[in-house]
């Protein structure tokens, strides 16, 4: 099997976030960068499939210098090769443009399966996987909790509101992964050492045949402004012993907040 995995470098989920000077994005200075947590399930599922069915795995990431560490992390976990999609033209890409760039890099690879995390944390768009499936003309199963592959057929369990649904389809296909699908392995020391020596292929806009297509002026959606959220009104701690506090709380919820 030929398996592709798409990963994204994102700020650590515990990081304090500050807004950049131009108010169009966040300030990455001093922010620890990690592999988006949902992508770890994508990497793990690709590795498990390779262990079971043989084949090769390739990881792709669109991003600046920060993507290098994330690609090395994938290699350290056991992914065979890495492609870094990097060009100044790609800075701050919207999801549709990101999907187009990824599709340009993946489409001729002859992949049987493509894995993405269900969303990149931070942006939280949940868009790139389904867009990429469309652009690659593949069927898809998104937000999956379980996957079985038998020949060119797959059966996936996906999470929906209040239920799980089971999707059957044929390969090649794209899958987006949800927490619960598997237990991602940590990179081994040996893996980390080997990953350091591996070469990461770099592809720019010209190599992908998309030069000029994703200039800022051509983008169909832009950030107008990023701002800090409205402060929540200062709350109050209730007084008295537990019994008094409980009574006060129910009274406030009924008469002041009117939510019960």
């Amino acid at each position: 099997m030929k398996i592709a995995v798409c990963v994204k470098a994102v700020p650590d989920t515990d990081a304090k976030i500050a807004i950049a000077g131009d108010k169009k994005g966040i300030d990455f200075n001093g922010v620890r960068i990690i592999t988006s947590p949902y992508d770890e399930f994508a990497i793990e599922e690709a590795l498990k499939l390779k262990e079971k069915h043989g084949g090769e795995t390739t990881v792709f990431s669109v991003g600046g210098a920060e993507a290098t560490d994330v690609l090395r992390d994938s290699l350290a976990r056991g992914i065979d090769s890495a492609v870094h999609i990097n060009d100044d033209e790609f800075a701050g890409l919207d999801p549709l443009s990101t999907a187009k760039v990824l599709a340009a890099a993946i489409k001729d690879g002859g992949f049987d399966a493509v894995f993405c995390g269900q969303q990149g944390v931070g942006g939280d768009n949940n868009q790139v996987p389904a867009m990429l499936a469309e652009l690659l003309n593949m069927p898809q199963a998104t937000i999956i909790l379980k996957l079985e592959i038998d020949g060119n057929k797959f059966k996936a369990e996906r999470e929906i509101e209040g239920a799980h649904e089971f999707v059957e389809g044929t390969l090649p296909a794209l899958f987006s992964t949800q927490k619960g699908l598997n237990e991602p392995r940590y990179p081994s020391i040996k893996g980390v050492m080997a990953a350091r020596r591996k070469e990461i292929a770099v592809k720019n806009a010209e190599a992908l045949g998309v030069k000029g297509q994703f200039n800022v002026d051509n983008r169909k959606v832009k950030v107008k402004e990023m701002a800090l959220p409205k402060e929540r009104p200062v709350g109050r701690k209730l007084d008295g012993d537990v019994d008094a506090q409980v009574k006060t709380l129910l009274d406030l919820l009924r008469t002041e907040a009117r939510v019960i």
């Binding site: 807004i19 593949m138 239920a163 959606v221 709350g235």
Partner: protein, 327 residues
């Protein structure tokens, strides 16, 4: 010139999602500034009766894609139907509720129509007849306002944020069939199982009671469940207790779990890690119960009780029981 708003109405097993009615109602509230008409599109098998429930939410027209190929959800079949709906009415905007079906379908159709999408919108700003969607990002630490540069744009709306606006009078509007070929379907839903555990879906619940480390162990979930039962609330959890294996991930609220916006969120023994706050700080009213008076959660809470949640919660449940017994 594209104008108007097309709203994708999600139905499963003959039930229209409330969040879709929220999206339809918001389209109605926005249409005078956007211009054009509101069209509701519903897809399925034998859904004409359901379509008849939609006029009271004020669309100008309801489009129905009905057929055996649409009995079970498939990304490709539904994408064909929604794309046909878009071709039929040439809207400026497509609205949908931000559910797991929408996360699967809407970006696929956006790519097919080469149009941009903004997900999980919680607010709109208006600029003339353009809508500027606003949404939280980065752990709720930022709010981002987007602008489109496209004749067609997609937006998914966060459930539980926009009000349903229903007419009590008899309202009529045309309900039209749209003939669509489902096309090549290479993957489709073959069965659906109701999830065990959560009786009320977190993202649609109007009240949520959540537990963290402060509940001390999984044996104490019944304490919180009793309060949920009394309030008609859904049960949530922090990442810490999900990772500890005390409860299934479907209950997790936060950046790597569900994002929720209930009317009332009661955090029991939850310290208030950034990643948890990200998932719930757009709740209308937040109650924190924690025995550490310096816990971060109190900075975000509307009302705080400093105390052991295992002592406070049963008292709350008892008082509510008395309240309900007295009407």
């Amino acid at each position: 010139m594209a104008e108007g708003i097309l709203v994708f109405i999600e139905q499963r097993q003959g039930q229209i999602r409330k969040a879709s009615l929220e999206a339809l109602s918001e389209a109605y509230r926005r249409i005078s500034s956007v211009g054009g008409n509101v069209t509701a599109l519903i897809i399925g098998k034998d859904v004409k009766g359901l379509a008849g429930n939609l006029p009271k939410y004020h669309p100008h027209k309801v489009l129905v894609v009905d057929g055996g190929d649409f009995e079970n959800y498939s990304t490709e079949g539904y994408a064909s139907a929604l794309t046909a709906g878009i071709k039929s009415v040439s809207p400026k905007y497509v609205f949908a509720a931000n559910t797991n079906m929408a996360k699967d379908l809407i970006p696929r159709v956006a790519a097919r129509t080469d149009a941009p999408c903004v997900s999980d919108v919680t607010e709109f700003e208006a600029d003339g007849n353009n809508l500027l969607p606003k949404r939280p990002q980065y752990s709720g630490k930022t709010y981002t306002v987007f602008e489109f540069n496209s004749p067609l744009a997609f937006m998914t709306l966060r459930p539980n944020v926009f009000a349903v606006q229903e007419s009590s009078n008899n309202v009529n509007c045309p309900i039209e069939d749209l003939q669509v070929s489902a096309g090549d379907i290479r993957a489709k839903v073959v069965e659906t199982h109701a999830a065990t555990g959560n009786k009320i879906e977190l993202s649609e619940a109007s009240i949520i009671v959540s537990g963290g480390r402060g509940i001390k162990g999984p044996e104490n979930w019944p304490v919180l469940q009793s309060l949920c039962d009394e309030l008609g609330a859904a049960l949530g959890a922090s990442r810490a207790v999900v990772d500890a294996g005390w409860i299934d991930h479907q209950h997790q609220v936060g950046q790597t779990g569900k994002t929720v916006s209930p009317q009332l969120y009661i955090a029991c023994g939850i310290s208030g890690a950034i990643q948890h706050l990200a998932g719930m700080n757009s709740s209308k009213v937040i109650v924190a119960i924690n025995n550490n008076p310096d816990a971060e959660i109190f900075k975000h809470a509307t009302y705080g009780i400093v105390g052991d949640c295992l002592e406070v919660v049963p008292k709350l449940t008892d008082e509510l029981k008395k309240m309900h017994a007295n009407g």
